[in-house]
């Protein structure tokens, strides 16, 4: 299910430009969406899911125009959505909540619904807690309920906003593997702050800043933004003042700093191979240095 976004803008009341002329093609498969807070990722996702109407521009998903009622309905029939701040009804059990959402998604056959819910509860490791009220659930468990509800109707388009927030490392790995497996003939749009999740699951991604698209392409291409710009500096003195410190690791009495910088950040700095995180930071630094 291809997504074609053209000249998309969203201006909220009060004149806040959340999206500013965004044009992007998202192909079938797993696709990452990166950006700092306020970049416009959530606004974009809310438009793609039909929750928000754009101020101008067009969005076609699988050929359907999301801004028309018919188009929105067609897209929502194929959609699974995990919002960033998922809410649940505290007085329902996990199974009841999923049953309710399944009914709204058109899973009318009781037998089929029960089978699908049981299957998904197993996938997200909630079978044992399925009949407990969700008001007693931890943040991670609620996240897993959210993941299960997004997968209920076997969606062809899966939009997930910060899906691994609150999950422990094992759950995170398991969930992103699941997303990758699902992505075969589906479109999975993954918005996250966790670069590692994108690095481990997506071949292609887009980066947004201040409502604009600042990058789209292969992971390798984004990583290459940091080519010859990543250094390690081992020192007992202060952290390098030049560039952006990515990490600091104690090494005996000294500290080893990893720095993204266009020039060597200190005498004795050693160049190292960049990662996605370095590429992202280099891109953001380049953007920040622009007027």
């Amino acid at each position: 299910m291809n997504i074609d976004i053209s000249q998309l803008t969203k201006t909220y009341k009060g004149g806040v430009h959340a999206l500013d002329g965004l044009t992007l093609h998202i192909p079938t498969g797993m696709y990452g969406l990166l950006g700092s807070n306020g970049a416009g990722k959530t606004t974009l996702m809310r438009i793609l899911t039909g929750l928000l109407k754009p101020t101008s521009g067009t969005v076609r998903i699988g050929g359907h125009d999301i801004t028309t009622p018919d188009g929105r309905l067609a897209v929502q029939r194929a959609l699974g959505y995990l919002p960033q701040d998922l809410g649940v009804y505290p007085e329902l059990t996990a199974r009841q909540f999923l049953d309710y959402v399944a009914l709204l998604k058109g899973l009318d056959s009781r037998q089929e619904r029960r089978r699908r819910i049981a299957e998904l509860l197993e996938v997200v490791s909630l079978t044992d807690a399925a009949d407990r009220k969700v008001k007693g659930f931890s943040g991670g468990m609620l996240r897993r309920v959210g993941i299960a509800q997004a997968l209920l109707a076997d969606p062809r388009l899966l939009v997930v906003d910060e899906p691994t927030t609150g999950l422990d490392p094992e759950e995170r790995i398991r969930f992103r593997t699941l997303l990758s497996q699902l992505a075969g003939d589906r479109t999975v749009l993954l918005s996250t702050h966790i670069l590692d999740d994108v690095a481990q699951t997506c071949r292609r991604l887009a980066v947004m800043a201040k409502g604009r698209l600042v990058f789209h392409g292969d992971i390798g291409h984004l990583v290459s933004y940091a080519d010859r710009r990543v250094w390690t500096v081992t020192t007992t003195g202060p952290a390098p003042a030049v560039g952006k410190v990515v990490s600091a690791l104690p090494e005996g009495p000294a500290m080893r700093y990893r720095v993204v910088s266009a020039t060597p950040p200190a005498a004795g700095a050693q160049p190292v191979a960049p990662t996605l995180e370095d590429g992202y930071l280099a891109l953001m630094e380049a953007g920040a240095s622009r007027p």
Partner: protein
């Protein structure tokens, strides 16, 4: 719609605070209202099952709808407060259908304790008087005299908190109920006891002819004339007849539908 109705009913009917507040209200009725606690239900003709059941309706419609309205006040706005709306609004389910389902499910669940108190009292009468026909009258009176008022009140309680915080709405709703429904216009000029007032007097007097002699017509516009010098709202107080009783029920339903249409319009406007 059916899914929303079912789950809204389930969530509301399991709400402990609703049962507690209703129980306290029934306790107040028992303690303060001789009409509720005495066998005659405060009427002169205790042996007549129809009269007894018709008399039960206004007793119930004095305080119980306040609980009903207050308990419904958070139902619509809580989806956004809880953050469930993003998930529900991205399903292909029709939003109007979901609104109607929420309205009917929440209203039905909130009416369950009301219904229980009403029929428990009717049952006491049936057992004490040995008149099973009272149960039939209880059903007829509840459906015609109480339900239309509750349908309107339910829509008002769902719609009001879209304009203000639920707690403020509850306060204003209590004020509305006392000033515009319970307190007669002879005390406070208001549209109370009029054809747009949900307490059900038009059904009691127009359809069931409670306490009226043969050929006598109940005239709300003159019933309170002794002290109501203004008579501002008398144009809303036609004589109580079977026709005006049906008109009252139709108006309650129409007002409820109008409020729901406004809620849907409000939701459509806030979608962008």
């Amino acid at each position: 719609m059916i899914a929303t109705l079912r789950y809204e009913f389930l969530m509301q009917v399991r709400r402990p605070v609703m049962w507690i507040v209703y129980a306290l209200t029934v306790a107040v009725l028992l303690a303060t209202g001789p009409g509720f606690s005495t066998l005659s239900l405060g009427g002169s003709d205790a042996r007549d099952a129809k009269t007894a059941m018709v008399l039960l309706a206004p007793i119930m419609m004095t305080l119980m709808p306040i609980v009903y309205g207050c308990m419904l006040a958070d139902r619509l706005v809580r989806d956004r407060r809880l953050g469930v709306d993003a998930v529900l609004d991205t399903t292909p389910a029709d939003r109007t259908g979901r609104l109607v389902g929420k309205y009917l499910g929440a209203c039905a669940a909130t009416a369950v304790p009301f219904l229980a108190a009403y029929f428990a009292r009717a049952l006491v009468y049936v057992v004490a008087e040995g008149r099973p026909s009272a149960l039939g009258w209880a059903v007829a009176v509840f459906v015609t005299t109480v339900v239309p008022g509750l349908l309107f009140t339910g829509a008002l309680a769902l719609a009001g908190p879209l304009l203000m915080p639920p707690m403020l709405f509850r306060v204003l709703f209590v004020v509305y109920w006392f000033c515009f429904v319970v307190i007669p216009p002879s005390v406070l000029p208001s549209p109370s006891y009029s054809i747009i007032s949900p307490e059900g007097d038009y059904m009691r007097y127009g359809l069931y002819r409670e306490g009226l002699a043969e050929g006598e017509v109940y005239r709300p516009s003159t019933a309170y004339a002794a002290l109501d010098e203004t008579g501002y709202f008398n144009f809303l107080r036609p004589d109580a007849t079977p026709a005006t009783a049906l008109l009252w029920a139709a108006l309650m339903l129409a007002l409820a539908l109008a409020l729901l249409a406004l809620v849907r319009l409000h939701a459509a406007r806030t979608e962008s």
